[in-house]
């Protein structure tokens, strides 16, 4: 039986969806679909798309690999100062992306970071590193919440059925956490692929070298190529939305 509260919530949800769709619609309305399709034929745009996709995937996967055990540890272990550890781990979420970029840049100012600077500062691995930090914090947050929602009793029972701790995690906890971890990864990846502030601060906005999609949008705006900037923006939005939908379909999480 639906009450007035359900209808109010439904109306708010509908308005929210409309608002989000309008973000794409206004961009398409500004340029039409022509410039976006035309931009897809430009080699430097394709290069920016490719750079964005692979760097964000590498950054997000690396973040996933570290964030899942971290989230699990935070969910399962009760220790003094756990809240502080959690707060520190999600600093990249609370920091401005630019500040994160500056902090990363400063890491490479002195040894031993200085020895690695040539690999990261104004270089493509710098993009990956910045995107890793951005994605990691999101994935840790969602993973911890996911693992907290899984009764540790499942693992205990699995242990008594013969599982080692790793087997219990792999055979029971991980499958139960699958949807949450996928959601965490997708959120982290979407955040990484759209990152501009931290990655451009560390890796620079070098055309044709560290030119990801957000950098390409920035460079287009800087050269007053508004149509191109909007077209690239539409492409980036469609890319992330497409990625989200594809992942949901792949893991069967759709309803």
């Amino acid at each position: 039986m639906r009450g007035w509260l359900d209808w109010v919530c439904l109306a708010i949800a509908g308005l929210s969806v409309t608002l989000m769709v309008s973000l794409i619609a206004v961009q398409l309305g500004y340029t039409g679909s022509g410039p976006a399709l035309r931009a897809l034929g430009e080699p430097d745009v394709l290069q920016a798309i490719w750079l964005s996709v692979w760097t964000s995937l590498v950054g997000a996967v690396a973040a996933l690999v570290l964030a899942v055990p971290t989230g699990y540890a935070l969910a399962r272990w009760r220790f003094r100062g756990a809240w502080l550890a959690e707060a520190l781990l999600v600093i990249p979420v609370t920091m401005s992306p630019m500040s994160l970029g500056v902090a990363l840049l400063l890491i490479f100012r002195d040894p031993p970071g200085l020895w690695l600077a040539r690999f990261f500062v104004f270089e493509v691995p710098g993009i990956i590193l910045a995107e890793f930090f951005v994605a990691y914090a999101f994935i840790v947050l969602v993973a911890r919440t996911t693992f907290s929602g899984i009764d540790p009793r499942f693992e205990q029972v699995a242990r008594f059925l013969g599982c080692t701790p790793w087997q219990a995690f792999r055979r029971v906890t991980l499958p139960l956490a699958r949807n949450g971890i996928v959601a965490a990864f997708v959120l982290g990846w979407a955040r990484a692929i759209g990152d501009f502030g931290s990655s451009s601060t560390l890796a620079g906005a070098v055309k044709g070298h560290t030119e990801t999609m957000p950098v390409a949008i920035y460079l287009s705006l800087a050269s007053v190529s508004i149509d191109r900037a909007v077209a690239l923006s539409v492409l980036l939005t469609l890319l992330t939305v497409g990625g989200l939908v594809a992942v949901r379909l792949l893991v069967g999480g759709q309803r």
Binding site: D151, Q156, A158, R159, F160, L161, G162, C163, R171, V172
Partner: protein, 364 residues
């Protein structure tokens, strides 16, 4: 044989106080206690989920205190059963075999044999574990545990979420399965009926202390102290005063308000004179007025009515103002020797009385 010796464990501000139990091979051992008595803490400590602060846990004489859970040869059915929701019924049951990489015809036969034993063969191909009824989930969880042939099966109030009829049926069936397989079982519960139905031996745990350990009939008939008697819902607990002197047959007199009862004191008796006496309803006999059995301790009373109970109604007899005795269970109220409001004689055998010194309340 499973042994826990002087086991001490704590959780929060609560602790188990030097618990020692020995469970022979093939015994169904039930730990009964009220909520918060430390039953689950004891279970989890023996299982190895929580480390003990002191004491030893031995399996067939071997100290397993430092043995990893998966190497102990135990299986565990928690209260919520913890069936794996991402696996089908078959995958749940074969989980332990898959971990051991035991496959092939022999494993398949073991799965089918266990499913047949528990009457769940038709459920093996069910994909969604959530579609099972409460009783079916119990059977699947037990099957999952049995296929790995555990040395000891641990159960933590496994039937508590079931309706009474299903609970009774499963208790009977599970006990028959355990006996048939010669399985050693350690079950914890707060349900007296369940404990009586499933135990070869019954231990009472209260406030982290083991109060008593004996066959169920003996525990219910002779609770160790007043607190245990109250927990076991022993009927007719009355405060009184032990009068000095004994009769020729060795019985004593306890004054409970206007009524004095002949009782036999337990050995050894501490000598307290402020006591509680109790007598279970099933040991009380009713006779018509004027039909006094020879040499019996009988008391005149008036049948007041019946206590409310669907399964075991008891007659309520007033011996004097403020002194009432529950008698029964009395399955057929028509068979009572007097109508409601009528006079009768109540026989209270002295040797059936439990006498607790008042300083036994806490079991000290």
């Amino acid at each position: 044989m499973l042994q826990a010796t002087d086991l001490v464990a704590h959780y929060g501000g609560f602790s188990l106080q030097r618990i020692s139990v020995t469970i022979p091979q093939g015994e169904s051992f039930v730990l009964l206690g009220p909520s918060g008595a430390g039953k689950t803490l004891f279970l989890e400590t023996v299982l190895g989920v929580k480390p003990p602060d002191a004491g030893r846990i031995l399996l067939d004489g071997r100290d397993i205190g430092r043995t990893r859970p998966e190497k102990r040869g135990f299986c565990y059915l928690p209260q919520d059963l913890a069936l794996f929701p991402h696996l089908s019924v078959r995958e749940n049951i074969t989980f332990g075999l898959a971990v051991r990489r035991a496959g092939g015809a022999a494993a398949e036969e073991r799965v089918h044999g266990t499913a047949r034993l528990l009457g769940i063969e038709r459920l093996l191909d069910r994909r969604d574990i959530r579609s099972l009824s409460g009783g079916e989930k119990q059977r699947v969880a037990l099957a999952r545990a049995l296929v790995v042939e555990p040395r000891v099966l641990f159960l933590d109030e496994p039937f508590s979420a079931l309706d009474p009829a299903t609970r009774r049926q499963l208790q009977r069936e599970f006990r028959a399965v355990w006996r048939r397989l010669g399985l050693t079982v350690l079950l914890v519960t707060h349900d007296h009926e369940e404990a009586a139905a499933l135990a070869d031996r019954l231990a009472i745990l209260m406030d982290g202390r083991l109060k008593q350990c004996a066959p169920p009939a003996q525990v219910f008939d002779r609770p160790a102290d007043l607190a245990t008697a109250r927990f076991l819902l022993t009927e007719n607990i009355l405060p009184g005063r032990l009068l000095p002197g004994a009769s020729a047959n060795g019985s004593h007199t306890v004054e409970c308000g206007p009524v004095t009862f002949r009782v036999v004191l337990p050995e050894p008796w501490a000598g307290a004179d402020v006591v509680h006496v109790a007598i279970r309803g099933c040991h009380v006999r009713l006779h018509p007025r004027g039909a006094c059995p020879p040499n019996a301790s009988v008391y005149p009373g008036v049948l007041e009515g019946f206590t409310l109970s669907a399964s075991a109604p008891r007659a309520l007899v007033r011996l004097a103002e403020g002194v009432r005795i529950e008698c029964g269970p009395w399955p057929d109220p028509q068979a009572l020797p007097a109508p409601v409001g009528g006079d009768l004689l109540v026989e209270l055998p002295p040797e059936r009385f439990l006498v607790f010194a008042d300083n036994e309340e806490g079991g000290a």
